[in-house]
Amino acid sequence: MQILKVENLYKSFAGSGEVVIDVSFEINEGEVIAVIGPSGSGKSTLLRCLTLLERINHGTIKVAGETMVETTPEGRVVYASEEQLRKIRLRLGMVFQNFNLFPHFSVMRNITEAPIHVRGLSPEKAREEAERLLGKIGLADKADAYPYQLSGGQSQRVAIARALAMKPDILFFDEPTSALDPELTGEVLKVIRQLAAERMTMLVVTHEMAFARDVADRVIFMDKGQVVEEGTAEQIFGDPENERTRSFLRNFSANHK
């Protein structure tokens, strides 16, 4: 089943011009997509458009067959009703680069607050679910800790659990390890790998090339707001067709030796 369909997406900002240019792709259930590319290539903005944190200037986005936004033949961008968007939002999960945990809530409450107050789960049910998730990410003993007591890697794992607790159809990651000390990236990547093994549908913006290569079913390479090349991990990393992709990967491996 198709979870996400993006067609001819454009996003520009006053002052910085077009940041995302004519991007189209789709994601099917259970697929893991890695989006790679140099800084400023529009990867994060793309993600923010898909999660309704930014409004697009042109294009169509469909989530599990439901239209989030479309553009009329006259070029008018029409978003679904607030009511409809609220439902669509429930299908989307997001993990931020800077975690964005709620500092005044315990780890437990960070995870249970939205299931209780947005999904309408009973507190007991939400707690049970949160405990299961905490066990899964290896932080069962941190339920009562506060975010300031966690390391970056632990924080990011809690943020993943918080997103999973909403049972999204697709989980977006915006450079989930970029704010972490190098020795802490492993524990976060391990959790994402585990989710991939469980066939969680995910779109991961990342600079971790080895990780993208292992985990992603498909890789999208973006540069200057455009999708330059898209293909399987073997294709993109093993035998990239486009010169920009080749030079990016070459520079990347040169800088990370």
């Binding site: 999660t51 309704l52 944190l53 609220r86 939002r89 429930l90 989307l92 999960g93 997001m94 931020f96 800077n98 964005n100 945990l101 709620f102 500092p103 005044h104 607050e113 939205a114 107050h117 947005v118 999904r119 506060y146 975010p147 300031y148 918080r162 997103a163 909403m166």
Partner: protein, 224 residues
Amino acid sequence: MSIFQVPTDAIKLITLLFNGLITSLQVFFLTLLFSLPLGLLTALGRMSSHKWISYPIRLYILVMRGTPLLLQLIFFYFAPFYMLPPGFRFSLPRFTAAIIAFSLNYAAYFAEIYRGGIESIPVGQYEAAAVLGFTRTQTFFKIILPQVVKRILPPISNEVITLVKDTALVQILGISELFRVAKNESSRIFSTTPLFVAGVFYLFLNWIVTKVFESAEKKLSYYR
């Protein structure tokens, strides 16, 4: 018998000042009761993207912070009578006028403190809440406001301490609060003792205010 006169006088003075203190406390608590919520509304209006909301509120804050509270007290007492056309004139009770002036004045100061607090919350908090599906109201009351309260406690405590002392200003409207009572008693008995005792009362009140805010800060120190 003269040796018993001293404690009797002391008790008389304390009782007298105590009555003034009650009035001061009424001004203090009623002002907080009205100005704290009004300040929040004012802050939200000040941050509104609609110019026809934010501009009048900016003007209101400018006037309230830019003119003496003493003058505002006089204004709210006399304006309904002298500034309205005949037939619409009315006068407010002194105490009511004082509470209105104080509440509007303090709300303006509180509004700027709230605004500073609200604007200091990282945008990521709003974004995380939005992606989790919280409504704007839920986001504000569950996620943002609790964090704001922690951040603004120190500046709020400054204002509250000032308020304790500012209550003395209502004497301009002839209200017998602590300071006026002490001053009159001072003139009557040709002694500065009543004023000194009033000073001790103010200090004691602010010691309590300080303690209350310290314990509130401590209560909120469970997170950073």
